[in-house]
């Protein structure tokens, strides 16, 4: 059987999702592109374990923009991608989670289009889903949650401090996932109560989902401000479906992650062409 091997193409920019941090949760395509790219430009939250998969002969550079301490501007990121591609290099623009969620992918793609640079998007596992896997609870449940709503507290506050998280009423049959909830859980609680959620609505905060540093906390909306601060990235899952969240450490994870020594496994992907 013939096989397809994905390699990063010269002169092309790949916007790649790095997933939650565990390299086992990268897509096969992401692993192959990382391993062959000439240049990797990554966000702050991309884990070291993922970056270890980058081409050892390539350039790996952080272009993260920490809150209020912008080390690299968005324009500089555009210029780095475009200049590298124009010089005939292959570029992986590596974003935590999925590249199409709560980042500036559209601005980056617009800049690439305007410069005539070829690009491709490779999806990744986004935080709401890695968190749901971590607490072994479906975001939807046909009995209590027929809708899934992804929000970010960070962007709203960046744009306008007075902007509430949600205008009007949130559906009661939804699971709400809040990305980058920040540390002001009292403000979040106020917005969510104002949007009509009951004080006894179950809440789960998952920090560093899918990594060895993963932590989980469970509470109710009425007690949200009492949650402890946790290491970024944090995602907050809110809704009746979260009543069945499993908060005990998942024993299966440690079992399957155990070391098996210096073994290298081949992954063969049959092509569908």
């Amino acid at each position: 059987m013939s096989r397809s091997i994905v390699k990063a193409e010269k002169g092309t920019v790949y916007l790649v999702g790095a997933g939650p941090g565990d390299p086992e949760l990268l897509t096969v395509k992401a692993v192959r592109l990382l391993a062959t790219a000439d240049v990797v430009l990554h966000d702050d939250l991309v884990s070291d374990a993922v970056l270890e998969l980058a081409n050892p002969r390539g350039l790996v550079s952080s272009v993260g923009k920490r809150c209020k301490n912008r080390r690299v501007t968005q324009q500089e990121i555009h210029a780095m991608m475009i200049d590298s591609a124009k010089r005939g290099l292959s570029v992986v623009r590596l974003k935590s989670g999925d590249p199409m969620v709560f980042g500036r992918a559209n601005e980056e793609m617009n800049a690439l289009r305007a410069s005539g640079i070829r690009y491709e998007v490779v999806p990744g596992i986004t935080a709401a889903f890695s968190a749901a896997s971590a607490v072994q609870t479906s975001l939807s449940d046909r009995r209590v949650a027929s809708k899934i709503i992804l929000l970010t507290a960070h962007h709203a506050s960046e744009k306008d401090q007075a902007e509430p998280l949600w205008k009007g009423k949130l559906p009661s049959d939804a699971t709400v996932a809040i990305y980058m909830p920040g540390s002001d859980y009292a403000a979040l609680q106020k917005d969510l109560l104002a949007a009509g959620l009951a004080p006894d609505t179950p809440c789960v905060a998952v920090s560093c989902a899918g990594t060895p540093q993963q932590t989980m906390q469970q509470t109710e909306l009425g007690m949200l401000p009492k949650l402890s601060a946790a290491s970024a990235p944090v995602v907050l899952l809110i809704g009746d479906a979260m009543a069945s969240a499993e908060m005990k450490p998942n024993s299966a994870i440690s079992r399957v992650d155990k070391l098996l020594g210096n073994v290298i496994e081949k992954i063969e992907i049959p092509t569908h062409n």
Copy 2:
């Protein structure tokens, strides 16, 4: 450096996301579990290209439930998982996309818990995100879309024909992704207009995202009923962010999927332990 190899453990059930269909978009963990599981129980929509990665010495069985033609009941799926695990086999329960979205994962996990079976969830790329990658457009955009809402038309109609897709007003700064939109686009249009969306709201329908069969159609909400029927799975993306959807076939995809002959590539994942 030591390396970790994930293998399916005996007596354990893995709820695994199969992603959109392209095997390159499976997670590394999913590939390894598929390759080593004794039993694979999969939904209808899981692609043949993904199933080709299953352990050739294992049992691969479809447990799909087509609309109104239930071949395998939910109770039978539970029994197959539990019986196999109790017999000491490793089981992959393979679900299209991500296992925690619009499926019956909670019911399956409840059954496993009740029987004392170890299980683990492995996330996958869900349709909204593979579709966003296909049309090279971010689901969020800080200028026009600060919210992402995942809905399903299928489940709502299953439960109650009179149930609208959304009660009250949908936020105007959201991207709405409708899973399993079905064929009654006129009913969807009616619900979305009633929820306050403007007739000129951009809509994109992506069928078989991330596979060689992928098709994309672009329209406006006012013209939604004129969309052609497309092969399942279809996801409908609606919102102002979709104005910048790229509808031309992505030339990069065909380039990176090209055959490179009978080459087998090693993927080495350094462990983070």
